[in-house]
Structures are given as C-alpha cells and as structure tokens.
C-alpha cells in the first residue's frame, strides 16, 4: 500500500478538514474504528536528548531520568514517550522524547470528546508534521535545517529538525486580525526559528488557505533569500490536508502507536472494551478449540484405555480358564497358561496311548513269521517303542525275513547274527528295533 496516496473525504474543496475528519470517523462503526487525532504541539514538550551511553538497550532504561531534568513538570505526573533513537555522525546516541502532563492529555481528550470523537491514538502533532514532510518532500539534505510550517486560522506550528530527525517545535498562537501586527509577529517568530542555527533552511509549507499561507511564504522568501538563508521552499499538495494525511499515514504504518500519548488508564473506554471483548472472544475460541482437542484426545485416550483394559481382562479370564489357574500375574498370563497346559497335557499323555492298539496285535504275526522261517525263538520282547527277539535259525534268510516284517511294523531294525559254530548247524541271532 502506498501511504502517500492516502485520501480523505472532502478533498481540496473542503474548508474544514477536522469537521470532515470527525464526520468520517463517526460514520465508521466503533467496533472497527481506529481514530487518530493530533495532540497540539503547544501542549507537549519535544526534546532531543543526548544519551552518554553506547547501548541503545541501556539507553532506553535511563532515558526517563535524563528527560526528567528537561521538563517543567514532574515526570511522575506526565505521559511521555521516547519515540526515536538515533546516532549522530560522531556516534553520539540521542533520543527524541515527547512529554506532557497527564492532566493536559485528559483536557485534550475532553475537547475531542466534545466534538463527538474519542480518538484511540493521540499523536503528537509535531511528529506527524515532520514525518509527513519526510514522506512527501523527501529526506533533509545534509548541512541544512528543515522547518515544517503548518498554519491554521488560530495558530501556526513549526517543526524544526535536521537530517537526524525532529529537534524542536515552536508554536505561534492567538493570530491577530491586523495584518501589520501579524507580520511583525511572524517576522519575530521566523527570526527565532532562524536563530536556531546558522545553516541554510529548507521550508515546507502546509496549512489552511484561509491563513494566506502563500502570501506570507512569499514575503519570507523575498526577505531571506537575499541573505542566502533559504535553501529550498516548497508547499505540499493539498496543504490543508497535510496534517490529516500525515496522521492517517502514521496510524496505518504503526508509527503513531509508539508516540501515542493515550494509553493505559487514558485508553478509550470503548476501545478498551472492544479489546476486552476481542480477548474474551479469542480466549473463548481458544478454550473451545482446546476443549474440542482435549475432548478428542480424551475420547481417544478413553477408547484406547478401555480397549486395553478389556483385552487385559479377557486375556486374564481366558488364561485362568485355559490354564485352570486360580490367579494369573498381569503380563504373564499367556506364559502361565501355556506352562499349565503343557504340564496338564504331559500328565494326560498316557491317555493318548490308551485307545491306541498295542504291539500285542503284532505278536501273532511275529510268531507266525518265525515259525514259517523255522526260527527258534528264545525270547520275544515287545513294547510301544522297542522290540527285541532272540533266537536261532537254519540260515540268515529267515532272520532277514523276520527283520523285514518288523520294519514293515515301523521299527528301525538292527540284526546281529553269530557265525556258525563247528558241530552245530544254523545261526544265532538278535533282532532289535526301535521306533523312530
């Protein structure tokens, strides 16, 4: 946004900018209205204070004490602002301060309220003029001094400064109707302004046409150009709107807030209430969002926790039932149940054999095979997992046939035969087998 293009209702034809200003502000709903008004320069003290410190951070802490000695009133009873900090070419730190008694601020507020406007920001008029000139005319040339004159029918204000910023402000009040007398006062005033420094002056003119600004400007230029004291002289566009324009610009770019002489207990009640309302709404929204989030998190937590508890309970109950246990240790349910089942199944293992056919059923077959092979058996031992047959026979073939039968019955068989003994026919044998 280009703040230099700020426009106000009424335009150049308006004869009373402040009436338009008030009317405009009142037309905007208070809820969204940001009103700014100039604080009269003749009711505030503007000082540029040198600070014998190198740190701006530390300077901000002591600037109040340094300002105190420059004030004709007690600092405790005043509203003051250190609006700008800067350094000279010699790196000397300085602060531009504005101060005024609190009672004066209250008086100015009362005057504004009487017009129907309760401004949120009271911006020092001299600061607005100075910054307005900086925006519309440009920076101050080195080695010159700028004087921004703003004329109204009842007073003339001059903001004086240099390349480092505003230095001081001077006000000429009680403008007389007599032109000659007024000329004398203006000459005296200008002389005072000129005496502020023997450097070329750069004049910036603004104000109401009713003040015959152009006429007085020409007189001054004629008189001072001859002595080389006018480096530049210019009149701003739409000069009667110069101050409102500058104020609007400062309000929009935020610089006016730093210089606002109205704050804390002087804050506009409506504005403060709106801020409280905003904070309350924001707080309520924050709490609502937090509550929703908390609710979602709480619901999810409760759901997960309930599921966890349910699973824990089910697992404990199942483990007790399956393991036939009276109690289980949380976290050890499956292990305990598995061990109990393993122990129980091992104990019941004989039941598995009970209904299985025994090896006795094979006895008849073994005996028939032995008889058929003409084997003589000395001992037969059969169990579920082992077999051992001792005997003798006419040859090894019969033994091998017996061993073959046992292999068919599922035994891994080992055959031992003794060599024939002289004088005896046949062989002795031992057939052993095991399940596997």
């Amino acid at each position: 946004m280009d703040f230099a293009s700020v426009s106000l209702p009424g335009g150049e034809d308006s004869t009373d900018p402040w009436a338009q200003w008030v009317a405009t502000t009142r037309a905007v709903p208070a809820r969204v209205r940001l009103t700014i008004a100039p604080f009269p320069s003749d009711r505030a003290v503007v000082r540029r204070i040198s600070i014998p410190l190198s740190s701006e951070r530390r300077a901000k802490r002591v600037v109040g004490s340094l300002l105190d000695v420059h004030l004709p009133f007690r600092l405790e009873d005043a509203v003051w602002r250190a609006v700008e900090f800067g350094r000279t070419e010699q790196s000397e730190l300085f602060a531009l301060c504005v101060a005024t008694p609190r009672s004066v601020v209250e008086g100015v507020l009362s005057e504004w309220r009487a017009t129907g406007m309760d401004p949120v920001i009271l911006d020092p008029e001299s600061l607005a003029l100075w910054h307005g000139a900086w925006h519309e005319v440009g920076p101050v040339e080195p080695s010159t001094r700028r004087i921004v004159v703003h004329a109204t029918p009842d007073r003339w204000v001059a903001a004086v400064g240099d390349r480092y910023g505003l230095r001081s402000v001077s006000v000429l009040r009680e403008v007389p109707g007599d032109a000659a007398a007024w000329r004398e006062r203006l000459r005296s005033w200008w002389a005072t302004l000129r005496a502020a420094g023997r450097v070329p002056l750069e004049w910036v003119w603004s104000g109401h046409p009713a003040t015959q600004l152009s006429r007085w400007r020409c007189e001054l230029e004629e008189e001072w150009s001859s002595i080389g004291m006018v480096a530049r002289s210019s009149e701003v566009a739409a000069p009667e709107w110069f101050l409102p324009r500058a104020l609007a610009r400062r309000a929009l770019d935020g610089t006016a807030w730093e210089a606002n002489l109205r704050d804390a207990d002087l804050a506009q009640a409506e504005w403060a209430a709106a801020r409280r309302r905003d904070l309350a709404v924001t707080s309520a929204a924050t709490v609502l969002v937090a509550a929703i989030w908390g609710g979602v998190v709480g619901w999810d937590f409760a759901r997960v926790r309930a599921l966890e508890l349910q699973l824990n309970a089910e697992i404990a109950a199942e483990a007790r039932r399956i393991g036939q246990l009276s109690r289980v240790v949380p976290g050890q349910e499956v292990r305990q149940a598995r061990e109990a089942v393993r122990e129980r199944l091992a104990r019941w293992q004989p039941l598995d054999r009970l209904f299985q056919p025994s090896q006795l059923a094979n006895l008849s077959g073994v005996l028939r095979q032995a008889g058929g092979s003409q084997l003589t058996l000395y001992a037969v031992e059969l169990s579920d997992d082992r077999v051992r047959i001792e005997g003798s026979g006419p040859d090894r073939d019969g033994v091998q046939q017996l061993a073959g039968l046992l292999q068919l019955l599922g035994f891994r068989v080992r055959v031992e035969t003794s060599p024939p003994v002289a004088g005896h026919e046949g062989v002795s044998f031992v057939v052993e087998g095991a399940r596997g």
Partner: protein, 172 residues
C-alpha cells in the same frame, strides 16, 4: 458484552493461554504415547490369538475324556479278569503297581503281571480280552520266553496300563 470491571483482561488471557497450553501439552503427550499404547494393544490382541490357539491345543484330550466319562468306571481287577479269560491257568503275580493322578477323579495305573507258565494261545486270548475292555487294560510291554525249544508254553511278563477312578474324586 461488557465484562465485569473486576475481571482483569490479562487474567482471562492467561487463563485461556493456560487452558490452551494444557490442551496442547495433553495433545502432544498423547501423540507421543499413543503409538506405544497401540503397540501394546496389538500385543494384547496377539496374546489373545495365542490363547485361542492354546485353547485348541488344550482340548486335544477332550475326546478321550468324553469317552472315559461316558464309561464312568475303570476296568475290572486283573486277577479276576485273568481267571475269567483263561481259566485253569495258574494265576500270575501282580507287582510294580504305579499310580499317577490325572485329575481329581481319575488316575493312571500301571501294573506288571508275571506268568511263570502260560500257554501262548491263552496269553494271546488274555491280552485280547484286556484290549477289548472299555476302558481297556492296555498291554504296553510284553516279554515272552518259551520254556523249551519248540514249546507252546512260555514264561511271560506283561505291563498293563489303564485309567481308574480315584476314590472320592470330584471330577476332572
């Protein structure tokens, strides 16, 4: 909406900030903790599945128990059975009896039967009788030694097993 004068604006703001902070902290905490909780729940679900599988395994002997419970009693005493099955054969010697409780009501019993002289066909007949009982006396081990070469009589040693009700048992 005008707020009460006593209610300081900053207190409302700080309270809201506190609530919001608490909510965000709880959200952050839960965001950090939730994955761990979900892993725990997955572990629990896995444990539940394992228990279901274990339950299937634990029911492996249910058919056996149903059969035993349906019968409701144990097999007759061995000597009595022997006398009935193979009358005229000298009574065997019963030894090495072992008992192993299966539950409150039933026990596993193992008995060794020594027959100093028994015809082979009688032995087979006795063993057949034992195996056809319900519940059976199951021959788990058998050793036969013929008394003479070519003899049909032998010395036999049998190990028999069966289930028996325990006295005063209340059930499995």
């Amino acid at each position: 909406m005008n707020l009460p004068r006593g209610l300081e604006v900053w207190m409302i703001g700080i309270a809201a900030l506190g609530v919001a902070t608490a909510a965000w902290v709880s959200v952050g905490w839960w965001a950090a903790v939730r994955p761990t909780r979900m892993v725990r729940i997955r572990d629990l679900a896995r444990a539940k599945t394992e228990l279901a599988q274990l339950d299937q395994d634990a029911r492996r002997f249910d058919p056996h128990w149903r059969a035993i419970e349906a019968i409701g009693h144990g097999p007759p005493p061995l000597l009595e059975l022997f006398a009935q099955a193979v009358p005229g054969v000298p009574a065997p010697v019963v030894s090495g009896e072992q008992r192993q409780p299966l539950d409150d009501r039933w026990e596993w019993r193992r008995v060794e039967l020594a027959c100093p002289e028994i015809p082979l066909d009688s032995l087979i007949a006795f063993a057949h009788t034992c195996s056809t009982l319900r519940p059976p006396w199951r021959v788990s081990r058998l050793r036969i030694e013929p008394l003479d070469v070519g003899s049909t009589r032998a010395r036999a040693m049998l190990t028999l097993e069966s289930v028996m009700p325990r006295s005063g048992g209340a059930g499995r």
